[in-house]
């Protein structure tokens, strides 16, 4: 079943054309999706079963996309629910972060270097004089 779910994930977020961003189906996160959607297990499994029944694993990318579009009527809520959850998992995956040009780590402890900024822009603000009213 995870093969079918991986194929669904890949259809929702395929690899980017330039190859910098991996497909969601290649990241091995189908189990995480199931865990995150434990409260919606019936919805998830119903959709996966319907995809399998439709021959999802032998379809082309376009056919798979059309199949999922058809789910709007036959499996209401399946695609938006899986897509939203997938976004929360995909965009914290180390491979994805690297693809975005970010370090593959949480913010702490390293943080980020940041430039102080161009303070010359404030010279004109000072030149216009005080803007507060006396109390």
């Amino acid at each position: 079943m995870d093969d079918v779910l991986d194929a669904i994930l890949e259809t929702l977020i395929p690899a980017s054309a330039d190859g910098n961003m991996p497909s969601a189906g290649s990241l091995g996160i189908a189990g995480d999706v199931r865990r995150e959607l434990a409260a919606f297990a019936a919805l998830l499994e119903s959709g996966v079963a319907a995809a399998e029944e439709a021959g999802f694993d032998s379809q082309s990318a376009d056919e798979r996309a059309n199949c999922l579009r058809g789910f709007e009527a036959t499996q209401p809520g399946f695609v938006p629910t899986v897509y939203m959850t997938l976004c929360t998992l995909y965009y914290r995956h180390p491979q994805v972060l690297v693809g975005l040009g970010l370090p593959a780590r949480p913010p702490f402890p390293e943080g980020y270097p940041l430039e102080g900024g161009d303070l010359t822009v404030f010279e004109a603000v000072v030149a216009r004089g005080p803007i507060f009213r006396a109390g």
């Binding site: 929702l12 939203m84 976004c87 929360t88 943080g111 404030f122 004109a124 005080p130 006396a134």
Partner: protein
């Protein structure tokens, strides 16, 4: 055995409770502070974790109703377009605040005299200024001297770095000839009083793992505890009790084990802010005070002020590195802060610039058609990720008696104590101000180079600033406490938090809350022998 009597009981260990405890500690009085939350562990903050963005939408979210920690109390805010945001812990809401740290303007204390609305405060900017300065040192305020929106003031630390995002937005203001300035921020941009310097983690609003943000658990409290203040955590005060002489004689609270306890005291100081304070006073009704403690004016819980917020976002053609740096602190503009008779509203507002979103939030915010699934996903995502910048607009909210905190007839916290109910309407003045501000916000973002803008007004989850529900004043019929935070009705009861604000100004209130707490503590120290006369 004689009953334990403290000299002072402080209720609440947040922004104000910490400041007043620290200030009073030098008297060597026996001071006990009761806090319904506990100490936070920096290792628990989301920026330690790969799922840090999601944590801010759940266990570290702003709403006590969605967090549902035992330390939180529920708030019925169904009858308000603005929802309550707070946090209950040592440090209070400073744990989650952005640490944007502006002062009120001199004119904010003279609203009635200058603009003919609301009321003047019973003190002025000059009177509070020394305590703003004192607070800046204790909290570690970063900024840039010379801001022409204020009388001269000296920041303690170098300003928060602006980065490419800040530079881009500043240029937009410059092109329009509008005021903009690096924000005063309670963030240690250099090592300060044992706090490590900021490393630009980004999500300050889910707690600072670095300890650089000035939350009071890392500023005032370590010093106050070292000076002898006893801080009892996981202790939720149910009511303040009053003796036959009409003075407060202590509090009843529920301890960490769920047992009811009593702490007697010679003086009670309430620091629970604009919702918690009226809730406690109303829960402390007695035969002597049937309408709630210290409520002979009938104004406890009335005149609730938020700051009506709007969020204006722009998308730019280039990446802005907006995921770096304090999320809520870079620049402030007060171009439209002071009243202008040519406008359709009185008073004014601030723009405060925001950094950009991380990748998860970018994707989630694009779910409504902007970042579709399928073959177009990456192309759409790349037009949005790290290309957004924007601002929140903080409008002054004028006091209106129909905006209230009352006790909900059914809702209770985990200890069975009645919970607060919020009733609030946005005024016509606020709505006109929001419209004006959103239009100007879009204008400046476009001047900065934004190719697309969007706005959310009013911003529902923006009830961070809770003010006015136990207002200060010289007339006991028109106010709850006097010019020194002392109850008109109960002379050994003081209030030191946002509830005593007379008006709200158009800036974040924490700096003023703490300056007021220090000012009141100073008055207490100077007048100890005659305080209750």
């Amino acid at each position: 055995m004689a009953e334990d009597v403290a000299d002072v009981v402080i209720i609440g260990a947040g922004a104000a409770g910490a400041a007043v405890a620290w200030s009073l500690a030098e008297t060597r009085m026996r001071i006990v502070c009761l806090e319904q939350g506990g100490w936070m562990a920096p290792t628990d903050y989301p920026s330690n974790r790969p799922d840090w963005e999601m944590q801010g939408l759940g266990p570290f979210g702003f709403s006590p109703n969605t967090r549902q920690r035992r330390e939180d109390y529920p708030v019925n805010d169904d009858d308000s377009p603005i929802k309550i945001s707070n946090f209950n812990a040592v440090g209070g809401s400073t744990i989650l605040y952005a640490a944007h740290f502006p002062r009120l303007h001199p004119s904010d204390f003279r609203v009635k005299s200058l603009d003919g609305v609301a009321d003047d405060w019973p003190l002025d900017y000059a009177g509070l200024e020394p305590f703003y300065d004192m607070n800046a040192k204790m909290m570690g305020v970063a900024g840039l001297a010379g801001d022409p929106a204020y009388p001269p003031k000296e920041p303690t630390l170098p300003h928060v770095p602006l980065g490419k995002l800040g530079d881009t937005l500043a240029q937009g203001f410059d092109r329009l000839g509008w005021h903009v300035w690096p924000s005063d921020s309670a963030i240690a941009t250099a090592e300060h009083a044992g706090r490590a310097p900021c490393v630009n983690l980004g999500p300050c609003v889910t707690g600072c793992a670095q300890g650089a943000k000035g939350s009071t658990d890392v500023t005032y409290w370590p010093v106050a505890v070292r000076e002898g203040v006893e801080l009892r955590t996981h202790c939720r005060v149910r009511e303040i009790t009053v003796g036959a002489d009409g003075l407060a004689d202590g509090v009843v609270y529920v301890d960490a084990e769920g047992n009811e306890q009593r702490q007697r005291a010679e003086m009670v100081i309430v620091a629970c802010n604009g919702v918690g304070t009226p809730r406690l006073l109303l829960n402390s009704a007695s035969s002597q005070f049937p309408d709630g403690l210290a409520n002979r004016s009938g104004l406890v819980g009335k005149n609730l002020m938020f700051h009506p917020y709007a969020l204006v976002t722009g998308w730019f053609p280039e990446r802005l590195e907006g995921y770096k740096g304090p999320a809520g602190c870079s620049l402030i503009s007060q171009e439209f802060y002071e009243t202008d008779p040519a406008r359709e509203f009185v008073r004014g507002y601030s723009f405060e610039m925001l950094r950009g979103d991380g990748p998860v939030r970018t994707a989630l915010q694009g779910l409504a058609g902007k970042v579709p699934w399928g073959a177009e996903h990456h192309a759409a995502f790349s037009t949005r990720f790290d290309k957004n910048a924007g601002m929140v607009i903080i409008c002054e909210d004028l006091p209106e008696e129909h905006n209230t905190v009352t006790l909900d007839p059914a809702l209770k916290d985990a200890d069975g104590i009645p919970a607060p109910k919020i009733t609030y309407r946005l005024s016509d003045n606020s709505l006109k101000m929001l419209d004006h501000a959103v239009a100007r916000g879009k204008e400046v973002l476009e001047a900065a180079g934004a190719v697309e803008t969007d706005a959310l007004s009013p911003l529902p989850p923006a009830g961070w600033h809770l003010m006015g529900t136990a207002r200060m004043g010289t007339d006991s019929a028109r106010s709850v406490v006097d010019a020194h935070g002392q109850s008109h009705d109960v002379r050994n009861l003081f209030i030191v938090d946002g509830s005593i604000f007379v008006t709200s100004g158009g800036v974040n209130p924490t700096n003023t809350i703490q300056a007021l707490a220090l000012y009141i503590a100073d008055h207490i120290k100077r007048n100890l022998t005659t305080l209750f006369d």
